[in-house]
């Protein structure tokens, strides 16, 4: 227990005793005041807070990026070990899953053909293809009361606030802050996350409410309806925050309350895909050019950007205030 006792290094500092204590006391009150002032500004969502946060993140990003190398190796080793331990069990699971998927694939092809035929008959306007980028997660910014992550892609890569983010499991969140080279991703499980969803084959409208747990709650279901165990949950597109039909997870009921078991695994975020889909709500405030550039393929986007230089400038000015 020697290390728990006093360290005898450099007693010289003690000579300054009283003076140091006084200045330390003043500093304590000054820093407490600054912290509280920043808390109030954060609550007010002040632009200074955004700027300060973005600057700190941009400064810290190279350090996090360097530190990620060894962490990735550690995680890879961990994954391999887990796979070896559960190899037989995993093989059986994959075999049965493969049988189901082959069956589903056949049904999906049939439905696709039927849909194409019907689409031709009623002359449906095709959805525009959305552009996307894939980037590495460099920071797991989760604390006791926040679930977020830092992504190594920012405004220079075309990422904007509000873009949905997903991985091979399904939707994982959306971009809430975009710096020049890094962006902050708010996970679906965060307390502040609210996602309009559809539940089951009937498409019952509901709201998925993040509560910092691994399985967010399902609330605001229409009166007289209830979510059943195992029903699929996907984005409804209501409010325009997310495009419609992005997979989220399945309903699980616990203690009479409906929760969502998320398809995406948040404990294993290496790379994520950022979908260039901007919420129409943000677009209305910032000019038409934004939605066009977000939803068009790249070659069309470049042409449109040249035409709408003025609108794009407006968008840049307005975006931080949104």
């Amino acid at each position: 227990m020697t290390f728990l006792r006093d360290d005898t290094f450099s007693r010289r500092g003690e000579a300054h005793g009283a003076h140091r204590r006084n200045s330390s006391g003043i500093m304590f009150f000054v820093l407490c005041f600054i912290s509280l002032a920043l808390l109030v500004l954060s609550k007010l969502d002040h632009v200074i807070v955004h700027m300060l946060r973005t600057h700190i993140v941009e400064l810290a990003a190279p350090v996090l990026n360097k530190a990620n190398g060894p962490i990735l190796n550690l995680r890879r080793i961990g994954r391999q070990l887990t796979t070896y331990v559960k190899l037989n069990e995993e093989l059986q699971r994959l075999k049965s899953e493969n049988r189901i998927l082959l069956d589903q694939q056949w049904r999906a092809k049939m439905l696709q053909r039927r849909l194409a035929r019907l689409g031709k008959m009623v002359r449906v306007v095709k959805d525009r293809e959305l552009d996307f980028i894939t980037a590495r997660v460099i920071g797991d910014a989760s604390g006791p009361f926040a679930r977020a992550a830092l992504v190594r892609a920012g405004t220079v890569h075309g990422v904007q606030r509000g873009f949905p983010v997903f991985n091979n499991g399904g939707l994982i969140g959306r971009i809430v802050e975009a710096g020049p080279s890094t962006s902050r991703l708010l996970l679906l499980s965060d307390l502040n996350s609210r996602v309009p969803v559809s539940v089951g084959g009937q498409g019952k409208r509901a709201l998925m409410l993040g509560d910092n747990s691994a399985a967010p709650r399902l609330g605001y279901l229409p009166h007289g309806t209830r979510a059943r165990q195992g029903e699929d949950v996907y984005t409804s597109g209501v409010g325009g925050l997310f495009p419609q039909g992005l997979r989220i997870g399945k309903v699980s009921t616990r203690g009479g309350k409906a929760h969502v078991d998320l398809s995406a695994r948040f404990d294993n975020l290496d790379f994520v895909t950022v979908l260039f889909y901007l919420s129409p709500n943000l677009v209305h405030r910032s000019g038409f050019a934004a939605i066009s550039s977000a939803s068009l393929p790249i070659h069309e986007t470049n042409m449109q950007n040249k035409k709408n230089t003025k609108n794009t400038k407006d968008m840049k000015i307005n975006t931080p205030a949104n």
């Binding site: 808390l39 990620n68 962490i71 995680r75 009361f145």
Partner: protein, 171 residues
């Protein structure tokens, strides 16, 4: 060499701050615990080498954590500053001079920190947040204190003092 050793406390706390935001993958459950680790560093170094662990370092580390965790800016900074002040108060108590006393002091400080964190976060979110997970991680941080104190002691300046002394004598 003495100047290099003087930055050891700040270096350790900064390191723990960055460790707290790295993506640890399968160990995601520890996400709530990780921001409490710099508290161990701040407490230990304030107790043992307060002259090299100014309150400004605690504030800056808190700000970095706030910015990187997307928490309200100033939350962790405030908590770390409170920890620093509490550690200074603990240091002045004669009854807490032993190894066990230091540990006891840390338990007391963690309790204050966890309560403050919960209260400030609840007020900020305008909701009564769950306190139990935070209490659990606080207890875990208390249990981990001797381990980290051991690491700090090994990496701390006390171990290198004879080396520095001999170097100075040689010069």
């Amino acid at each position: 060499m003495r100047y290099v050793l003087a930055i050891v406390p700040a270096l350790f706390v900064a390191l723990l701050t960055f460790v707290a935001v790295l993506p640890w993958g399968g160990w995601h459950q520890l996400g709530s615990l990780l921001p409490l680790l710099p508290m161990i560093g701040i407490y230990y170094w304030t107790i043992h080498q307060s002259q090299h662990m100014p309150v400004g370092i605690a504030f800056v580390c808190g700000m970095i954590l706030d910015a990187l965790t997307y928490g309200p800016l100033g939350l962790w900074a405030l908590i770390y500053v409170i920890i620093h002040r509490s550690a200074l108060i603990c240091k002045s108590f004669k009854s807490l001079q032993s190894g066990f006393g230091r540990w006891l002091g840390f338990s007391f400080i963690i309790a204050i920190a966890v309560h403050s964190l919960w209260a400030v976060s609840s007020i900020y979110s305008a909701a009564s947040l769950a306190w139990w997970p935070l209490a659990q991680t606080g207890a875990l941080a208390v249990l981990l204190y001797p381990v980290f104190a051991g690491v700090f002691w090994l990496g701390g300046a006390a171990r290198w003092r004879p080396v520095v002394g001999s170097m100075q004598r040689g010069a």
